[in-house]
């Protein structure tokens, strides 16, 4: 299998899907970049993180649309076109800017099908680079997935590796419901094996990346990689864990979580968000309600603190949950009597 980066896997999908389906288009700030510039170089950036590179020369300005800085209208553009027969992929440059586009995301895209009694179809994908770890401070580092996961009508996807990035984005583009697709900024350069050709990963099916009887680690997005880092040291000490990568937070693979909890009885949920109303608290609550009789220890929640993401390198390092936090939490649940 070829090895490629998370970024290139996403890029490949957009090339493949735009070739396959002429109704697919991409819009966002600087998705090609260069329009109206003085150099004459029309594809000047290919997206601020390079994810949409090469699309403009191949598919042209009608389907690869550089937009003004107008996030609400970028999403609205994709939503309106998707209601009228297209499949729009809107790129919001940083997940934080979803704050500017929440009306079109949660009041419009999420609700059309319901409000119309099942007549409307809104096959839009909102791609959002998210997360801390690059010293981008409080307004360019947030997670945001916990907010949209709470909205009925939206699907929320968080690939943790290049293969899933490919398989899940392909599924997202072909899905007939609105999808918010979270790409961790610090993972764009991560390499991994990626299946060739057409590759789809279904929504609502978590991946069990490691198996063990002692504890369950539930993680999503970049936290999966940190959990993987924590595993070997725990194994050395005889602590073997199930590692569940949720892949999608809406729909949520409840069965995968409960099956593992039944086996281990000890759970750590790892979430990059602050703790209140987080995925960690949501999943811990779900386990408490549906898996209580299996539990042998209180569920541990590894999250960021209840604070904005700090700028200073040392502060940010301490802020983001990492392998050491996961290691400590696993040892805590395992040693609980």
């Amino acid at each position: 299998m070829p090895v490629m980066t998370y970024r290139d896997a996403l890029n490949q999908v957009m090339h493949q899907e735009m070739e396959r389906d002429p109704t697919v288009f991409v819009c966002g700030e600087d998705v090609s970049g260069g329009a109206g510039g003085t150099s004459g170089e029309r594809e000047a950036s290919g997206g601020i993180f390079g994810v949409t590179g090469g699309l403009l020369p191949k598919f042209g300005e009608d389907r690869v649309i550089d937009t003004p800085i107008s996030e609400n209208t970028i999403v609205g553009l994709a939503v309106g076109a998707s209601l009228a027969g297209k499949r729009g992929i809107a790129e919001i440059m940083f997940a934080d800017f979803l704050g500017l586009a929440l009306d079109q995301t949660m009041n419009q895209a999420a609700k059309f099908r319901y409000m119309s009694g099942g007549k409307a179809k809104c096959p839009v994908v909102i791609r959002v680079p998210y997360g801390a770890g690059m010293n981008m401070a409080a307004q360019h580092s947030q997670t945001m997935y916990q907010i949209v996961t709470s909205v009925p009508g939206l699907k929320v996807v968080m690939p943790s590796n290049p293969a899933d990035a490919k398989g899940l984005l392909t599924t997202a583009i072909r899905d007939d419901d609105p999808v918010v697709f979270f790409e961790h900024k610090a993972m764009y350069g991560r390499k991994g094996e990626v299946p060739e050709g057409e590759y789809l990963v279904p929504f609502g099916q978590a991946a069990v990346l490691n198996e063990g009887d002692d504890a369950t680690i539930v993680a999503m997005g970049r936290m999966v990689a940190f959990a993987e880092k924590a595993l070997p040291k725990l194994a050395e000490d005889g602590i073997n864990c199930d590692l569940i990568d949720l892949r999608t937070t809406s729909p949520l693979d409840e069965d995968a979580i409960l099956d593992s909890v039944e086996k281990t009885g000890r759970v750590v949920v790892v979430d990059e968000s602050p703790p209140r109303c987080s995925l960690a608290s949501d999943i811990a609550g779900f386990i408490a309600s549906h898996g209580f009789s299996s539990l042998k220890a209180p569920v541990q929640q590894v999250t960021a603190p209840h604070a904005p993401v700090p700028f200073s390198r040392d502060l940010e390092r301490a802020y983001v949950p990492g392998p050491a936090h996961i290691d400590a939490a696993v040892r805590k649940v395992v040693s609980y009597k």
């Binding site: 009608d62 309106g80 009228a84 319901y114």
Partner: protein
């Protein structure tokens, strides 16, 4: 120089306006009985705008409406009985009773929904116009909005976006003088909505929204422009609403005789008759038919079943595992 319309066209336009008027006047009465739940925003007084615009459109053209959307729905061809049933929250409604007055939609008719968020239709209409542009068949998308909507960032963003991507979108601004309970003279900083559109470089026409013929002629010009790919444009129609912002609004912000005066001087149906293009007998016959249709719509809606509780969690997604 007014555009010549056939008698059939004129009779159809009158029927549409009269249907909207009677639909709303009847709702005003029925709401007072307490049988209809929630917020209802009536369109009476503005009929010439919805009809003068939509008489140019077919089902392939797209419109995005507002919270005051009943008129746009009827003008775009939504089934009047299914609309009434929706407002009554019935299972037979256009949205199975899940949307209600503020969210009536019929995607098969190119009616992309009334909308509870002021200004949200702007971006959606530009997206719909983008879809039309990509198809290259000369279709357009209309964004209906009021004088209140032009103070929303979404509409100003959408106007700019439409110009930047050269989308065949037409912003129809119905200036009825009030943003909810606040006068447009206060809330529109420059007091000149058409000038805002012109500042984006859009072709803009301002016309009397209580005169069906003026609306129809203005839209003919703008639609020619948009369908030809010459870019988005805006119409500002000066109009009035005969009721409050929502039903139950005591309208303390309006002078005592304002509505009475407007009903006398700015009634688009009276204006239409006064032109004398069609005989009163023919219009009287339409009046009777419309009243009968609205009676039936109310009766059928009241008799229709409520949606069952199993409907609460259906239609959230197309599929969700």
């Amino acid at each position: 120089m007014a555009i010549q319309q056939s008698e059939d066209q004129l009779l159809r336009a009158y029927r549409q306006m009269k249907t909207i008027r009677e639909f709303e006047e009847r709702l005003h009465k029925e709401i007072m009985t307490g049988e209809i739940a929630g917020f209802t925003h009536l369109y009476s007084g503005q009929e010439a705008v919805a009809v003068g615009v939509c008489e140019h459109l077919d089902e392939k053209d797209l419109i995005v409406s507002t919270h005051r959307g009943h008129g746009h729905c009827i003008a775009k061809g939504c089934d009047v009985k299914a609309m009434m049933a929706e407002i009554y929250g019935r299972a037979t409604g256009l949205g199975k009773g899940k949307g209600g007055s503020m969210h009536i939609a019929d995607f098969d008719k190119g009616m992309l929904g009334a909308n509870g968020i002021v200004g949200a239709g702007g971006p959606l209409a530009v997206g719909a116009a983008l879809s039309a542009k990509l198809d290259g068949e000369g279709r357009v998308a209309i964004s209906f909005g009021g004088d209140g909507s032009v103070n929303q960032g979404a509409v100003l963003e959408a106007m700019n976006m439409a110009v930047v991507i050269n989308a065949p979108a037409i912003f129809v601004i119905e200036n009825n003088g009030y943003s909810e309970h606040t006068g447009a003279d206060y809330a529109v900083g420059s007091k000149d909505i058409a000038a805002r559109s012109e500042a984006f470089g859009m072709k803009t026409i301002k016309a009397d929204g209580c005169d069906y013929f003026a609306v129809y002629d203005a839209m003919a010009e703008l639609l020619d422009h948009a369908r030809a790919g010459k870019g988005p444009c805006t119409a500002e129609f000066m109009t009035t609403r005969f009721f409050g912002h929502f039903e139950g609004d005591p309208q303390k912000y309006r002078a005592k005789d304002e509505v009475k005066r407007h009903r006398e001087e700015m009634d688009c149906l009276k204006n239409f008759r006064a032109v004398g293009a069609v005989s009163d007998d023919k219009l009287d016959a339409i009046d009777a038919e419309v009243l009968a249709l609205i009676d039936e719509a109310v009766e059928e809606a009241r008799a229709a079943p409520m949606p069952g509780p199993e409907e609460i969690t259906t239609d959230v997604y197309i599929s969700y595992q």
